[in-house]
Symmetry: C2
Subunit: 510 residues, 2 copies
């Protein structure tokens, strides 16, 4: 693939052009809800005790080039990926066997698994399950090779930035039509592809809401969707874009509820074996709602469970009749370990099993998006590659543990492994490095107004939604639509301290 | 009119309701561009040196009641008002006579008049003139009387808040449909009337742009509209709402230019007798534009002319071939003195003259919106009313001078007049007080996040646009649409220090 696309991009900006572009973008962002609440390191809490201030989300000044073949492949595979993760979630025995191995080394996964077991014992009150997914990729472009698509991770919970990323696409598209926007051969030819992330994700939630059926409470309560959110969410406008679409277009009542308030403001009447989740809005004590769908924008990371009460709240949601987006089981499917097991080239063909109804061409294309990755728990290919400095140089060592520490890169790997007890090696996964375009560059406007230019790495995310019946695996809806391009300043030593920026971006295909 | 409408309004809020409502509003505002840049007293410049922060515009939590009859009357009269002010602008002799009297007492008006005279001497290069107006009213509801509409002022320059006010209408309309919004008999019956301020004002600008005709420059340049704005505009999102509509819907290129940059970034080629106004965007040195329309969101107040250079800039615009919104003459028509002369009940019937083609019923309804007001330059009704404490009690004394000092209220008037030389009395206008509903109350969310409840006074503004030919007075377009309700906390003594709030609002008709 032609790496020169990247070396001549983005166009040069003289100071007047940059000033104009930055002003236009920071104003456009506020005008169009492409916003975040400012970080306390930028605006101290005492300055804004009421929390009214907002600033632009971090964005690139230019859309980033991305190979058209990779983008189209990612879109083409998304519904198969949705199907795959629904099927894995349905195979509780398979998943249980994998989790068993992890329970020793990972408190978080162990805790989640216990929530599942507890609810399983009582019996799940809801068999429908909703996935709002984002499959993240890089374009792998080693020198002198053609571009291929490699998956970084598959998000099964709190897949974020759909709301803001569609606005970045609008921003870049409008800028391209603006007089004075610097010209470049790539930009003269095309505009960013349409981004329907908001429509797709909202439609997924709306279909779940509708599929819930009539109220289970007696007397019947009005139905609603609940967004469960973090206490100090700065990225709320991303969530509000979905909420607004659900209320304006789908006419579904939606409430946002902080995770700390779940046990205070929702209940499951003990007298009702159907276990409806009842929401008691404090602003409207006379009215109660029955929750059809719980959309989690919280509870995805270990540090969000600060006490036993948070685990209680998660269990409370899980045992209710609300459709979970996602269930605990579906969340667990997004673990690194699952990705690694799927990618194993020896042993049973998991993909063929989970995608039994899918044509073999699609399955092999999907398999081709896996970066080679290895378990280090026992002797074999993984250990060989990791301990040999020559092969280690093309790999990264990632902690198995969710929300774990830093990665170990390249030739640091052999010495690092030898410095820890061999019994701990099973806590790590070895992944072949993905080679994003080495000369990619962009300019970003951060949320504090700083403008930085740097070498960058871009990750493409494709959004998908799927609604299925966990009992039997019947799929009621399976869609894809919309994308995220997230562009980060490249760390000089890849493992060092991250400075620079991480920005929302859009795409110019080539 | 039933004053009890106001005494039972707005609905009570318990703390949970208020917290929910305030959170919803402050988030909605940022999500939907109902925003302002924060005042430096709230966010110090050193905290936000790049100027990226924004906050919600000040808004009421509830739409305010407004008599339907008054609202409909104001809308019905707007195109006649547009016509009136266009006709006055065309009658340079009439206007000149009024201005002559003022030149002694008012530097600002004197300066503006000189700009007109200078351009007149050279000859105007453009005969089309665009008005984007806002006629401001109060509902006059003295005890035991029915409501009537009384005009506060007629804005002929920089009529602002069209962009934000239409968003406040959307906000209140959406809130009314929100579960948990407090109920009230008034709110159960109706939603705020549709607000088309953005569409109306943008369409006015677009029609002027189109009516400009082909470029006058040779070789022909692309055409654009220029928004002339203040250096430190905090209300820019209000302007951007119009700009966005013009670019997205009307496909007209629009630039914002600070008034201080007019002489740097625009020119009139001396070799071209048509005097096109050429814009040189610094971000795009290779491209020049010919300006069809200059939309002034600056240069309306005396304190904006800091040096001779600002007057030069204004003159530069005025002598160009661009359609001015407004011309100096049209701006002068918005002076208090014009309002007062029109309202005179003795002497010539100015309304009948300026609205010669308008039916007499409309003319008398328009006349009925004038609050009685008197010139104090000579003996007569005005002086009588002002010096008698009994009649003074129903009046306010306003400085003739534009951008002048404080008003003198009620029984303070006789003593005040006696304390100054009689020769200075001509600098003041006596106006009969308007009696807005005494018990009106509302709750407002300020831009710094404070929530205040108070007795309030609301002013209704109706937007209108008119494009006419100053030579002959032919009207090419005359429209009305959209409104502003601005609601302020009532000063305890009406003349004291203004604390509290001044908020954007919408309307519940009754």
């Amino acid at each position: 693939m032609d790496n020169t696309v990247y070396s001549s991009y983005p166009p040069q900006l003289d100071p007047a052009q940059e000033a104009y572009l930055v002003t236009t973008i920071k104003d456009w962002a506020i005008q169009n809800g492409l916003a975040v609440r400012p970080h306390p390191s930028f605006v101290p809490r005492e300055t804004d005790s009421k929390g009214v201030l907002a600033t632009n989300a971090p964005v690139t000044l230019f859309p980033s080039p991305f190979p058209r073949s990779c983008f189209e492949e990612a879109r083409a595979l998304q519904t198969a990926y949705n199907q795959l993760y629904a099927a894995i979630t349905c195979d509780e025995a398979w998943l249980g066997k994998i989790m068993e191995d992890l329970i020793d080394v990972d408190d978080f996964i162990s805790h989640l698994w216990k929530v599942h077991l507890a609810v399983q014992k009582e019996g799940y009150a809801q068999t429908l399950s909703l996935g709002l997914y984002r499959s993240d990729y890089m374009a792998n472009i080693p020198s002198n090779s053609s571009a291929s698509l490699k998956q970084v991770e598959f998000n099964t919970i709190s897949s974020s930035f759909g709301g803001l990323s569609s606005r970045v696409t609008s921003l870049h598209t409008e800028l391209l039509g603006t007089p004075g926007y610097p010209s470049h051969p790539l930009l003269d030819l095309s505009i960013p592809p349409e981004n329907t992330a908001v429509e797709t994700l909202s439609a997924g939630l709306a279909v779940a809401h509708k599929s819930y059926g009539p109220p289970k409470s007696a007397p019947a309560l009005p139905l609603c969707i609940l967004f469960l959110v973090q206490e100090d969410e700065r990225n709320l406008f991303d969530q509000l874009a979905l909420l607004q679409q659900l209320t304006r277009v789908h006419k579904v009542p939606v409430f946002r509820l902080k995770s700390t308030e779940i046990l205070n403001q929702t209940s499951i009447p003990s007298s009702n074996p159907a276990r409806p989740l009842v929401y008691h809005p404090p602003q409207s004590p006379g009215t109660q709602y029955e929750v059809t769908t719980t959309y989690l924008r919280c509870f995805y990371a270990p540090n969000e469970y600060k006490s036993e009460r948070d685990w209680e709240a998660r269990t409370h949601l899980e045992r209710s009749a609300a459709i979970k987006c996602p269930t605990v089981l579906n969340q667990l499917c997004g673990s690194k370990i699952v990705q690694q097991v799927l990618a194993e080239t020896t042993g049973p063909d998991h993909l063929a099993k989970f995608l039994a109804g899918t044509d073999s061409n699609t399955i092999s294309r999907l398999r081709a998006t896996f970066a080679p990755q290895y378990d280090l728990s026992s002797s074999g290919r993984g250990r060989e590659l990791a301990l040999n400095p020559e092969t280690a140089a093309n790999h990264v060592l990632k902690p198995q543990r969710e929300g774990g520490g830093n990665n170990i890169y390249k030739t640091d790997i052999p010495d690092f492994l030898r410095s820890i007890p061999e019994s701990d090696w099973k806590r790590w996964i070895l992944m072949e490095l993905i080679h994003p375009p080495a000369s990619a560059k962009n300019v970003a406007l951060r949320s504090d107004g700083e403008v930085l230019r740097d070498n960058v790495i871009s990750e493409l995310g494709i959004y998908g939604t799927i609604l299925w019946d966990q009992k039997g695996g019947n799929v009621l809806q399976n869609e894809q639509g919309g994308y995220l391009l997230r562009t980060k300043a490249k760390d000089v030593n890849e493992g060092g301290v991250a400075t620079g920026f991480s920005s929302l971006d859009s795409i110019v295909l080539f």
